[in-house]
């Protein structure tokens, strides 16, 4: 299979910037007539000029269509980004979120006119609570990191209510970067615990790390190496013993749906990524949603409003009477447009479908593990004795030692074969890491092709390493100078013009 990405380009650049395509007096829109009276804004508050591009509608459509052709999504091909769960996004979900009854409702509307929205959110909360084994779910956070921040605020409120100020949050060294940042943002000190030789949390280190200062331990299970933390009950015990809380990072939930539940493992706060496990599209970086589930004891701290159901009046309503609530982390009630898609997805899969999805995802990942470990140049740094879950981390260090090419070079070369690169250099505890998550929506043929390609790339590294170092060559543009981008940042058309003048 050959691949060549569209490339709208001349000698100096790709498709021009929309600002560069502008021509005076063109317009891409028409407006209704003005009303009789004027705007009545004092002249000194009115702007003198606004320098935005002027294009007609066909030009705008062509411009962004061309840009989309120089992009790559799950619909384009294999996208094995570890811990991102790039699974297929059902199109029916898009259709439903675009319905007028979903998209043209205002959060301040009279509650009688938004019963459908409240019902959908209420039911979604209940489904997520069942999936995770928690008591209550809040759908407010707009993204995973946002949810993490909420989780940390809840932990803080909980301990404060017990009259204690607990300053520390423990995070494993393999954790996702936002874990550290979210804890710090909520005002906690972060204590990092190392992983053991089997790639799991080192219980000895953890036991030394926990104390009366421990507010929470943040953990993902399966962890970022794709390995199940089989000692989770001991971990939970160590933390609960000192009165700390257990926080679950839901990035890897796709590895355990229907098999076990974070709530049952002892987690008090459970986070979800709807744009991962629940298949809402990633949108090039958002919008997503990062709901938070909690055990009973933390329920009262949840942000307002909480959606409740009045059985007598048979009505859903927004409850603001929550004296212990931590307040708000979002102005409104959550990314509703995303919630609709996740809700539909859960119905499309049902209990049996979600479990099957996890089984197929885990099988796909183990299949890759089995086939790739036989390919020279790649090795498993950690525990290769048992199965992995929905993702697996390989190290390209052998290849680097042999040929000098790095994991990044391998990843860039993969692009030339029409496959998106896996996550690389993460988790940082594995040198030359390649973090591979196929998901359940990939056919076996694609997995085989992936392994074959990695093998071919390893061979190329030996015979002609320059091919990798100069990769990618089949994408819209070749390897970019990222160092220059950070060193001399040009971050807007304004800055670009200013620099051009100098």
């Amino acid at each position: 299979m050959k691949f060549k990405q569209a490339s709208w380009a001349n000698d100096a650049h790709l498709e021009p910037l929309v600002f560069e395509l502008s021509r005076a007096n063109r317009t891409g829109y028409t407006l209704p007539q003005k009303t009789p009276s004027g705007a009545n804004i004092p002249e000194n508050l009115v702007r003198k000029k606004l320098e935005l591009p002027e294009l007609s509608e066909p030009e705008i459509v062509r411009h962004y269509t061309r840009l989309s052709q120089m992009n790559y999504g799950v619909d384009s091909g294999f996208y094995p980004l570890g811990s991102c769960t790039m699974k297929y996004n059902p199109k029916i979900c898009e259709e439903l979120a675009a319905l007028e009854t979903a998209s043209r409702i205002h959060p301040y509307q009279d509650e009688g006119t938004i019963q459908g929205a409240l019902e959908l959110m209420y039911k979604l909360e209940r489904h997520l609570a069942e999936i995770a084994g928690v008591a209550r779910v809040c759908l407010h956070p707009s993204a995973g990191a946002h949810g993490e921040f909420l989780g940390m605020l809840l932990a803080r409120a909980y301990h404060k209510s017990k009259g204690k100020e607990r300053k520390e949050v423990i995070v494993p060294d393999s954790a996702h970067g936002t874990n550290f940042a979210s804890a710090a943002m909520a005002g906690f000190d972060v204590v990092v615990v190392p992983s053991n030789s089997k790639g799991r949390v080192d219980i000895g280190a953890l036991r030394k790390a926990v104390s009366k200062k421990t507010a929470a331990l943040m953990l993902t299970n399966p962890n970022t190496l794709g390995l199940f933390e089989d000692e989770i009950l001991k971990i939970a015990e160590a933390v609960h013993k000192v009165g700390g809380l257990l926080y679950y990072d839901g990035a890897n939930l796709n590895g355990i749906l229907g098999k076990t539940r974070p709530g049952d493992m002892g987690f008090d706060i459970v986070h979800f990524n709807l744009h991962k496990t629940f298949s809402t599209p990633h949108g090039g970086g958002g919008p997503g949603a990062g709901p938070i589930g909690v055990s009973r004891k933390l329920e009262k701290f949840l942000p307002v409003p909480v959606i409740e159901y009045n059985r007598k009046r048979r009505r859903y309503y927004l409850d603001y009477r929550r004296p212990h609530s931590i307040g708000k982390v979002k102005a409104f009630y959550g990314n509703f447009g995303v919630l609709v898609k996740a809700y539909a997805y859960i119905l499309l899969m049902g209990a049996s479908g979600l479990q099957e999805a996890t089984e197929a995802a885990v099988l796909n990942s183990n299949y890759i593990m089995h086939k790739l470990r036989g390919v020279s140049g790649y090795e498993l740094k950690f525990d290769a004795s048992g199965p992995c879950k929905h993702e697996i981390v390989f190290s390209a260090e052998p290849l680097k030692r042999e040929t000098g090419v790095t994991a990044r070079d391998v990843a860039k070369r993969l692009l030339d074969y029409g496959m998106h690169a896996p996550t690389y250099y993460f988790p940082p505890i594995v040198p030359e890491a390649l973090m591979i998550e196929p998901t359940e929506t990939e056919p076996k043929e694609e997995l085989d092709r992936f392994v074959e390609t990695l093998k071919a790339i390893a061979d190329e590294a030996r015979s002609d390493p320059e091919k990798l170092r100069s990769a990618p060559t089949q994408t819209a543009v070749g390897r970019l100078d990222e160092v220059k981008a950070s060193r001399e940042p040009i971050l807007s058309w304004r800055m670009y013009r200013k620099l051009a003048k100098q």
Partner: protein
């Protein structure tokens, strides 16, 4: 029968297990301790076909009444506008929709350039030089701005107007809690609503990191003293953060032109539907000052070239900044943002262009002006409650002792009209008051209909 989203059939899965020398799928889950294995099926609805899901969800959502089927005057942080059809069709293109954060720049130039264009559009609108590729919403953008100002100045106090949106303030409180920033509310002039300058000057000590002002305010009026506020703030060594509705910037002076250091706002009205309050789009921009740019949160897309220097391209500019941020207290943790909403915003803005946005803003403001005039003429009503110029939102106070805003709204609803948002609970000092919003969606006839309905509801004279 397999599932349409799971290509590997039962047979293929058996085949794979065989190849791997694994007896059954259960072996792959054997490392889950017995005690925590789920021994029953999840209590969820049964799997439904696409047709069934469609019917089910449509029926559920049918219990909503979209504001397009009513006459709604709601705003307050989410504003309905007409979205040109090509905006949504372009962002629905699956190469954009189903892509991830553009870490692999070479294969993601489309998204990167689109986001660079968004950043550029925000800069032109706000008069800033640098804008990030989005935050979650206006409220969290304010929170991040406060944290950033604290980092830059090393100070811990934030001054905000008493008339700040209560929801946005609530979110700011949670962001301020981490590093322990102190939030102080500044009073306002009773008749104009303008920030009380003497309170501002008194409050601007050497411990103030920033002053946050909303312009137009939550109550819809414009801060006419904004330049004075900027000067006083800067003289005290603090930063000025201005919160905006970007639609207003089609007509109003750019914050960059009157001294803002950071501009935050809600980008939803640019090309994104109201969608029950989410997804939203947090705008965040600042001046090109090294001290600020080094601390700006969120993703930034920068222009660069290929390694050989020949071709222009775009890439995420992360390292330099986030490194500096990382070592400070209360760093930004934002990872996924609202990228697709940002692209929609950019497409919307370039579709309208400078004249379209200006005209749009004029229509919105003119509609509000007309509505205020007509409503104010009704006995027992006052619109607006402040004697300052307004943009497209305004306050409506019911001074008639027999009516509350709530029961007026109930009566209006019976006529298919969604009245303004009551603010009596959060701001009891203003009595029975609501905030209304007009956009280009409203015609003169619509406004007349509102006025008639209100008058009728009050049995009042006009």
């Amino acid at each position: 029968m397999g599932h349409p989203y799971i290509p590997n059939t039962h047979e293929i899965r058996e085949q794979m297990l065989d190849e791997m020398g694994v007896a059954s799928i259960d072996e792959l889950f054997a490392d889950i301790p017995e005690k925590i294995r789920l021994k029953r099926e999840l209590k969820l609805p049964k799997q439904m076909s696409e047709l069934e899901v469609k019917r089910h969800v449509r029926a559920m959502l049918a219990k909503n009444e979209p504001f397009t089927k009513m006459l709604s005057f709601l705003g307050g942080g989410v504003w309905p506008h007409h979205i040109p059809s090509h905006v949504q069709s372009l962002v629905q293109r699956s190469e954009f929709l189903t892509s991830y954060t553009p870490y692999q720049a070479e294969v993601s130039q489309g998204m990167l350039q689109a986001l660079f264009e968004y950043q550029s559009v925000v800069c032109e609108l706000t008069g800033m030089d640098v804008a990030n590729a989005s935050m979650y919403d206006w409220a969290t953008a304010i929170g991040e701005a406060a944290l950033m100002c604290a980092r830059v100045t090393g100070r811990k106090k934030v001054l905000v107007p008493e008339l700040i949106s209560p929801e946005r303030f609530a979110v700011l409180q949670n962001y301020a809690a981490g590093p322990g920033l102190e939030l102080v509310k500044l009073g306002y002039d009773w008749s104009t609503g303008q920030l009380d300058m003497s309170q501002l000057r008194a409050g601007l000590g050497q411990d103030v990191a920033c002053v946050y002002v909303e312009n137009p305010s939550y109550f819809g009026f414009l801060e006419t003293q904004i330049e004075e506020i900027a000067n006083a703030t800067h003289n005290a060594g603090a930063l000025l953060v201005v919160g905006v509705n970007p639609i207003s910037l089609g007509l109003l002076k750019a914050p960059g032109d009157y001294g803002a250091d950071i501009v935050v706002g809600e980008g939803q009205p640019l090309g994104n539907p109201a969608s029950f309050g989410g997804p939203t789009l947090g705008i965040f921009a600042c001046r090109d000052d090294q001290k600020l740019v080094r601390q700006i949160p969120g993703r930034l897309i920068g222009m660069t070239t290929t390694l050989d220097g020949k071709m222009r391209g775009f890439t995420m500019v992360l390292q330099t900044r986030e490194q500096h941020i990382r070592r400070e207290r209360a760093t930004s943790n934002i990872c996924s943002n609202e990228a697709l909403c940002a692209v929609a915003a950019a497409i919307y803005a370039v579709s309208l262009g400078p004249r379209g946005l200006r005209e749009l803003a004029e229509i919105c403001a003119a509609n509000a002006s007309y509505a205020m005039k007509k409503l104010d003429a009704i006995d027992g009503l006052e619109a607006p409650i402040f004697t300052s110029p307004h943009f497209n939102e305004f306050t409506l106070r019911c001074t008639h002792p027999k009516f509350t805003v709530e029961n007026l709204n109930t009566k209006l609803l019976k006529q298919g009209i969604q009245g303004g948002k009551p603010i009596s609970k959060e701001f009891p000092e203003f009595g029975e008051t609501a905030i209304l919003c007009t956009t280009e969606l409203h015609t003169k006839e619509n406004i007349d209909r509102l006025v008639d309905a209100v008058a009728e509801a009050m049995g009042a004279r006009r």
